[in-house]
């Protein structure tokens, strides 16, 4: 298929998202959670899919962003957009500080460092109950209207449109970044880590920047969750969230950004449908899907779509 023929495809996820607003007015909180999960998965795609650094602790940044925005709003600064910026900044700084620790040792040790750092942050938030509310969660988050006009309503209309708009902007920004020379150098490092330095690519610096960028994205996703639900719980920092994010990414397909959108939507909808029947069921099917994906299907849903379109085009 030619470039021109593909152009409408780029609009497809956004048309579907807009249609959801009109067709499913009862389900807007679910749709918001899809948008937030999608942004979190985009952050993982940047670091795992493009830069090739596997992490088990991305929830640390999600949680850091969530608590930043939540604490700001709790303490009298409920302006949402500046809250997002603050969350992004805090998460990015945290990413910059921890990146050398993660990238310093080999892949395996680095993986375990991400896990350890994530757990440390969770435990710290758990113990600092005076600030974070501990296991009870952060109460009394009051968010002001978006742009001073749109109040957060009971039906979640503002929450959904706000989350979707942020996702839209950051998604296209990520598209621009991965298509830039910087993004290409990340792919080069991922493709052949020994050759990249020989070509003069400063590997450590590029990966550190990618790690911090992904952290900032995750921080914004966390802040969105805090602002739209007016609540932050320890769940935001949990290992489960890091693992879920990886699953969404792999389910959708690595390294295309669209895979992140599809994976997050499929995962969240399946979770919603199956865990309503029974949580055990959900866990079982999730596990089976993961094993199958790991053994056979690296492309995920995006890979499947590509195969379909190729066989039709031929």
């Amino acid at each position: 298929m030619g470039r021109l023929m593909r152009a409408p495809l780029h609009a497809l996820p956004w048309l579907a998202a807009a249609a959801g607003y009109f067709l499913l007015p009862e389900q807007l909180p679910l749709l918001s959670s899809i948008a937030i999960a999608a942004l979190f998965t985009v952050s993982l795609d940047l670091i795992v899919g493009y830069a090739g650094v596997v992490t088990l602790g991305q929830a640390a940044f999600f949680g850091a962003g969530a608590y930043t925005a939540g604490l700001l709003a709790q303490n009298g600064w409920g302006e949402p957009l500046s809250g997002l910026l603050a969350a992004a900044a805090v998460a990015a700084v945290l990413g910059l500080v921890t990146a050398p620790l993660v990238l310093r040792s080999g892949a395996l040790a680095g993986l375990m460092v991400t896990l350890g750092l994530g757990l440390m942050l969770y435990e710290a938030a758990n113990k600092a109950a005076a600030i974070t509310g501990g296991a009870d969660g952060l109460q009394g988050v009051e968010v002001w209207p978006v742009l001073g006009v749109f109040r957060f309503d009971l039906y979640g209309q503002t929450a959904y449109l706000y989350s979707l708009a942020v996702l839209f902007v950051l998604f296209w920004l990520a598209k621009l970044i991965v298509a830039s020379p910087y993004g290409l150098s990340l792919r080069g490092i991922n493709g052949n880590p020994r050759r990249a330095p020989a070509l003069g690519v400063p590997v450590k610096a590029r990966l550190t920047a990618a790690y911090a960028l992904a952290a900032a994205y995750a921080g914004v996703a966390g802040a969105l969750l805090a602002q739209t639900t007016a609540f932050v719980s320890l769940d935001a920092l949990s290992f489960q969230r890091s693992a879920d994010g990886l699953l969404m990414l792999v389910l959708g397909g690595l390294g295309s950004l669209y895979g992140a959108l599809i994976g997050a939507a499929a995962f969240t909808l399946a979770h919603h449908a199956l865990s309503e029947a029974s949580p055990i069921f959900w866990q079982l099917w999730l596990g089976i899907a993961l094993i199958a994906l790991a053994l056979f299907g690296r492309g995920g849903l995006m890979g499947l779509l590509r195969k379909l379109s190729r066989s039709r085009g031929a």
Binding site: A107, M120, Q283
Partner: protein, 288 residues
């Protein structure tokens, strides 16, 4: 003073238990380079086998331990042959996903069959209660743990260093290609080792029902502890993980006893710090 000795011995006992639970992981992760986050699931399976046999069938405790070991080893062997073998040499993301998936599936099965509640077992008469030695009260079960796990560790060390199988395993891990070229059945050596490690995890899980508790969350709850043992202990010997496990056990028990408000934070911090300072393990020689 007496409290300190009790804490120390309790710590050593839980460290020994931790060693038996995680030594298999130090082989798969450390030697075979497979990120197996599902290792704790074998411990969970062993724990359930033990609890069911003991509570519902009234089988003697020692026989239950044996059955738990065998069941976990068998499961490990089957899964290695069918699934894990496809993941050797694949990238870490695949291994992470696969093993998390396995944890979910086994956890869901356990939840479905046994329910989400904590399993309780009744220890036999000769293992319950305390004995007084030189004015210090010691749980009989802790002494049993120390003796049994110590014997396992000694057996493993001897097996790895002195036996033919140990020599073959070391050769297969050092350089699989050369070992294969010399006619060693590398695949079979790996399956047997995997089964042994899983069986030991099953034994640890069965022994741990009384100490660590047992519910479908077990594999993820203690995952970090297993990883710390491997990361800190290194993978080139039995002694490394052994020392690491005991240190961890003592630190953990002492921390919970004296500074409960800090909780698990100490363990995580120690893990990250050690990973950064000694990426190859505590006892590893400085890299040349």
């Amino acid at each position: 003073m007496a409290a300190a000795v009790t804490v120390l011995l309790d710590g050593i006992a839980s460290g020994m238990l931790l060693f038996v639970l995680s030594v298999g992981l130090s082989v798969t992760l450390g030697l075979m380079n497979v990120v197996n986050l599902a290792h704790g699931a074998f411990g969970m399976v062993g724990g359930y086998v033990c609890a069911v046999l003991l509570n519902r069938a009234g089988v003697p405790f020692v026989v239950c331990l044996l059955a738990a070991t065998l069941a976990a080893a068998l499961l490990g062997w089957v899964l290695e042959r069918l699934l894990y073998v496809r993941l050797y040499g694949r990238d870490h993301l695949d291994q992470v996903l696969f093993s998390i998936g396995l944890v979910f599936v086994l956890g869901a099965c356990a939840d479905w069959l046994m329910g989400a509640r904590q399993q309780l077992i009744q220890l036999p008469e000769w293992l319950s209660g305390r004995v007084e030695i030189a004015g210090v009260g010691l749980g009989r079960y802790r002494i049993f743990l120390i003796l049994l796990c110590g014997a396992v560790a000694a057996g493993l060390h001897f097996g790895l260093v002195r036996t033919r199988f140990g020599a073959r395993l070391r050769a297969a891990v050092d350089d699989g290609t050369v070992a294969r070229g010399m006619g060693l059945p590398v695949g079979r050596i790996f399956s047997l080792t995997f089964a042994l490690g899983s069986g030991l995890a099953g034994l640890g899980g069965a022994l741990g029902v009384e100490v660590l508790g047992l519910d479908p969350n077990f594999p993820l709850k203690y995952l970090v502890y297993f990883l710390v043992v491997v990361a800190v202990g290194g993978a080139n010997s039995v002694a490394g993980p052994f020392v690491a496990a005991i240190l961890l056990g003592v630190l953990d028990v002492a921390g919970k006893y004296w500074v409960p408000q800090v909780g698990a934070f100490v363990i995580y911090t120690a893990m990250v710090a050690l990973l950064l300072l000694r990426p190859d393990g505590l006892l590893a020689k400085a890299r040349s």
